[in-house]
């Protein structure tokens, strides 16, 4: 069967050796099961971390809990011993893991530490009744692990813990995915935290300190900021500075998308801006025109996406 690779060989684009190597992979003579084994490893880490969390929650104060905690502590200590003993020295640039499972054991160590800290709080009330301080300590620990052992996943956990310390959380409701925001404090906190994360991410990038972490900061910043401003707009009324904030943050997201050539920030920015502007139009048609001109709405919804779509189509080469 003639293949593209054969054509390249005939045209001199690749050497016979390169062709042979490609054919080995294509024909299955060389078969990598790396991603499958990493999936297995990830599943194992998740199950172990979940299991230990439930053990602590269910068995605190019972006779056998000390044994369980002891086992978890041993596992945790073992994980730390392994990752410290195999780690390369800290470097502000990206470092490679010494082996394929090192990253997963780092994640396991972080998750088990969080379980043990929770146990300390439950059993000894280390932070009194101030549970939120536990999440701050956990966030600090995660941040240390993320930077020391160069682990993007643990950095995500650190940012999530920090948001949790500040009282923010996302409801895992498929049909109503929104930030739980019971008041002004949470909207403001969400927006301020988003701006702070973006500033930190960009500053660290400018200083070339783990600049491959910047996308994590920016993703959290974009989602948190846009969701907070949008939720506030719908909760507190369209005529509020939050709707302006949502538009400004959307513009920032689109600007950043064009700058780093990332389509995701473009998706976030355009979607939120479109939702806010559409809400304004609906509000105008309903409140000002008393719903008499519903055809205007249909015309709006037909015509309105055309402008952003044309802009996107025109700017498509920027994202290649």
């Amino acid at each position: 069967m003639p293949t593209e690779e054969r054509e390249w060989l005939d045209s001199g684009f690749i050497s016979q050796e390169q062709f042979a190597a490609i054919e080995d992979i294509r024909e299955g003579r060389v078969f990598s099961i790396s991603s499958e084994l990493q999936g297995l490893l990830y599943l194992g880490v998740l199950l172990l971390a979940t299991g230990t969390g439930i053990i602590i929650y269910n068995h605190i104060g019972s006779v056998g809990h000390l044994i369980a905690i002891g086992l978890i502590a041993i596992l945790c200590a073992g994980s730390y011993w392994y990752i410290f003993s195999r780690s390369v020295d800290y470097s502000p640039s990206k470092t490679d893991d010494p082996n394929p499972y090192y990253g997963y054991l780092t994640l396991l160590a972080a998750l088990l530490s969080a379980s043990l800290l929770t146990y300390l709080q439950l059993q000894f009330e280390a932070f009194g009744d101030q549970w939120s301080w536990l999440t701050l300590v956990t966030a600090a620990l995660f941040a240390y692990i993320a930077y020391r052992f160069d682990h993007i996943g643990v950095l995500g956990l650190a940012i999530t813990s920090l948001a949790s310390f500040l009282g923010l959380r996302i409801e895992p409701d498929l049909f109503n995915p929104s930030i739980t925001l019971d008041g002004l404090y949470y909207y403001n906190t969400g927006i301020v935290l988003a701006i702070a994360l973006a500033v930190i991410g960009l500053w660290l990038k400018s200083k070339e300190i783990k600049d491959h972490f910047t996308p994590v900061y920016m993703q959290f910043a974009a989602l948190l900021g846009l969701l907070s401003a949008m939720s506030a707009t719908f909760d507190l009324g369209l005529v509020s500075w939050y709707s302006v904030a949502a538009i400004v943050l959307s513009a920032c997201s689109v600007y950043y998308a064009l700058r780093v050539k990332s389509t995701w920030y473009m998706l976030y920015g355009v979607s939120v801006a479109y939702i806010i502007v559409s809400a304004w139009v609906i509000h105008f048609c309903w409140e000002v025109l008393d719903g008499d001109n519903i055809i205007l709405l249909f015309i709006y919804f037909t015509a309105s996406p055309i402008v952003p779509l044309l802009l996107i189509l025109k700017s498509r080469r920027r994202f290649k």
């Binding site: 069967m1 050796e17 990598s32 499958e36 297995l40 194992g44 199950l47 299991g51 919804f301 037909t302």
Partner: protein, 380 residues
């Protein structure tokens, strides 16, 4: 040819995609990649996933808004003849997709094309409901045929998945209409049909006859295998029986479905491993994991937190042992990433070539890293 694209367009696109694939794998360097892309220019317009999602949403809003505007304007006049305008509208939308998006702008998996043609198909299906008096069997059959044709015409995996699901619904509706015991055989019949489809697509893929549809054929095999497993999964069949036939948990031939829930993924896994077929291997592996919660309904299994933690430890240890065992490739199977392997392969080949020519081998070719025995050494 049924495809909306020419052989030259698809061929050039395949060259570009393959060049990018082998560039990522470290088997072709950037210069060669650029040369290949230049030699096979493709005018097909494709975008990244996020952009496709955005264009899909935007396109959907436009076509629905346009349709509602027209419907609101002419509904009173056409109320008695709703089927015809729906049919005409559907055809017009498809003509728009063909003429403007494909012929003029060469859209190919852009999201916008999908939004437009899917809307056109929905209108055609809706008109069939009107013409055939809401006959569910005919509506689903129409959906199946149109989705299948669309998948071939636009080379779209989404339409193919939709066609395969529609086929399952059609079989259920058909067997259910016989008012007998036939409906109980739907899961087995579907599993056989999807299994046969997967087998046929596998043969087709290996023969290379329809190379233009290579991606679609592989996607079809993947979807067929997933649907085959879903068709016999005891939890799905039991829940479906309760929901659609009020079985109240009394599933006929439950033992057969339990056996298939366990054995089918294991069989897929075995053949995936034996034939080095990644699709079979992955579906089999995931299916085997999903079998555990599926059969929990029928078997008392210890699922307390200690078991969860123990299984976690077991998986971690197994994975680490396997990674170490396959760190040096055994029978061509390796736990190293493909690009690491390929870089290592090239290093060996390059070193051998340089040795023959009496040259010192370079150490930075293709950016792959240092060779370390089967590509599994620490430094890359």
């Amino acid at each position: 040819m049924i495809s909306a694209y020419t052989i030259e367009q698809i061929s050039a696109l395949r060259h570009q995609l393959k060049a990018r694939k082998w560039l990522k794998a470290g088997l072709v360097n950037q210069d060669k990649h650029d040369l290949i892309v230049e030699a096979y220019p493709s005018n097909l317009y494709r975008v990244k996933l996020a952009m496709a999602a955005l264009l899909f949403l935007g396109g959907t809003v436009v076509v629905i808004g346009l349709q509602l505007t027209i419907a609101m304007s002419f509904l009173n006049e056409l109320e008695d003849l709703l089927g015809f305008p729906t049919l005409i509208m559907g055809l017009l939308v498809l003509v728009f997709a063909e003429w403007l998006l494909i012929r003029e702008q060469c859209h190919h998996r852009t999201g916008m094309l999908q939004a437009v043609y899917l809307h056109g198909l929905q209108l055609l299906i809706a008109s069939s409901a009107y013409f055939f008096d809401d006959n569910e069997i005919i509506v689903v059959l129409t959906a199946f045929i149109l989705s299948l044709l669309a998948s071939l015409r636009y080379m779209d995996r989404f339409a193919l998945a939709s066609a395969l699901v529609c086929f399952g619904v059609f079989v259920f509706q058909l067997f259910d209409s016989f008012d007998g015991m036939m409906v109980y055989f739907v899961p087995i019949f579907l599993a056989i049909c999807y299994g046969a489809a997967a087998f046929w697509l596998d043969r087709l893929s290996k023969s290379g006859e329809h190379w233009m549809y290579g991606d679609l054929i592989n996607a079809g095999k993947l979807f067929s295998l997933i649907l085959m497993y879903i068709s016999v999964n005891v939890l799905v069949v039991s829940s479906g029986g309760n929901l659609l036939m009020n079985l109240d948990g009394q599933l006929p031939f439950a033992w057969l479905f339990i056996a298939l829930t366990i054995l089918l993924p294991l069989t897929m896994f075995y053949f995936g491993w034996k034939n080095r077929d990644r699709i079979l291997l992955n579906i089999g592996g995931i299916g085997a994991v999903l079998s555990v919660p599926s059969i929990k309904l029928y078997f008392e299994m210890p699922t307390n937190e200690f078991v969860i933690a123990f299984v976690g430890v077991l998986l971690i240890v197994t994975a680490i042992l396997l990674i170490r065992y396959f760190s040096a490739a055994r029978n061509g199977i390796s736990s190293a990433k493909e690009q690491r392997q390929s870089s290592s392969i090239l290093k060996i080949l390059e070193a051998a070539q340089a040795f023959q020519q009496g040259e010192k081998p370079t150490t930075d070719t293709f950016g792959g890293g240092e060779f370390g025995g089967g590509g599994a050494e620490g430094k890359f």
